[in-house]
């Protein structure tokens, strides 16, 4: 799957979890940049992303995800 397609599928997931219909995701975007990205919403985000791409992250994958770019790279590696 191309990165562009991953981004196009991730965007509505992020918008839904953080209840922000204008949220634009970039490689650099992280929990520090989104006010509603806290520990609770992070768990919901992970679950929604796994559902969207029918994947299961390993713990070491999750702990390497410092930003959306890292998340996209890990998703790419699993598809």
């Amino acid at each position: 799957m191309e990165k562009e397609e991953i981004v196009s599928r991730l965007t509505p997931v992020f918008r839904k979890v953080f209840a922000d219909s204008t949220l634009v995701i970039t490689d650099q975007l992280s929990a520090l940049d989104v006010e509603k990205w806290d520990s609770l919403s992070h768990m919901l985000l992970i679950a929604e992303v796994e559902n969207e791409f029918t994947i299961k992250f390993k713990l070491k994958d999750l702990n390497k995800m410092a930003n959306v770019g890292d998340m996209i790279a890990i998703i790419e590696s699993k598809l």
Binding site: A31, L32, D38, S39, L40, S41, H42, M43, L44, I46, A47, E50, N51, F57, K58, L59, L62, N63, A66
Partner: protein
């Protein structure tokens, strides 16, 4: 105090630390968020807490490396967790903890959390980077009143200062009904700096109380 040995937690302490987490989380109530928010019975939640400790992820409240224990006659009788938020480039501890829970508890529990998260969201408190975060502090009842709490607090601060000499603050998030723990913290120089309250009527079904305090102690730099 000579009969007590305070030391860093070791892997064989993990089942005891799970009990420390459960006792500390419940505070003065019978509500444990690992059961109420994730729809798990307590025995299963305890096993999952053990699994999370066994992953040995550093930098959060479920990190083995965050804990010290006290031994009395060869057995652990207290456990206390503390870590420096974001130290060594670690991710925010809330994210690390969420990763552990997401990985360990499974999709059904997270789906259940999704239906309850609105109830507890007002009591989510960000942790300040590069401050010492104190979380989970439990001493078995029969060892209370012997000065152990002060010795533990001193040891936690000394350990953190040895790791990061520029450390300026210790913070603790605590439910307002944890009156005995609040007394210990006040006695040890902490002050209440902020209060967070939820007006959601269902909150008492899920958390020990509807108000959380942020307590803080400014360290003297010698």
């Amino acid at each position: 105090m000579n009969e007590y040995l305070i030391r860093k937690a070791e892997p064989e302490d993990i089942p005891f630390l799970a009990d420390v987490v459960i006792a500390s989380e419940k505070g003065m109530s019978d509500r444990l968020s690992f059961t109420t928010l994730f729809n798990k019975p307590e025995a299963e939640a305890r096993e999952l807490i053990i699994q999370m400790f066994e992953e040995e992820v550093d930098g959060c409240e479920l990190s083995l490396s965050s804990f010290i224990v006290t031994e009395f006659e060869g057995k652990p009788i207290s456990g206390s967790g503390a870590w420096i938020e974001g130290f060594n480039g670690n991710m925010p501890s809330g994210i690390l903890k969420s990763n552990l829970i997401s990985y360990t508890f499974g999709k059904e529990s997270i789906a259940y959390l999704k239906t309850k998260s609105h109830i507890v969201k007002d009591l989510q408190i960000d942790r300040e980077p590069m401050t010492l975060q104190l979380e989970y502090f439990h001493i078995k009842d029969e060892h209370l009143g012997k000065g152990l709490d002060a010795a533990l607090m001193d040891r936690i601060e000394q350990n953190a200062l040895a790791e990061y000499p520029a450390l300026k603050k210790v913070q603790c998030q605590i439910f307002k009904n944890s009156v005995f723990s609040i007394k210990i913290l006040l006695r040890h120089g902490f002050k209440i700096v902020k209060s967070y309250r939820s007006d959601n009527g269902d909150i008492f079904d899920y958390l020990p109380y509807n108000e959380k305090l942020l307590m803080e102690k400014v360290l003297k730099i010698n």
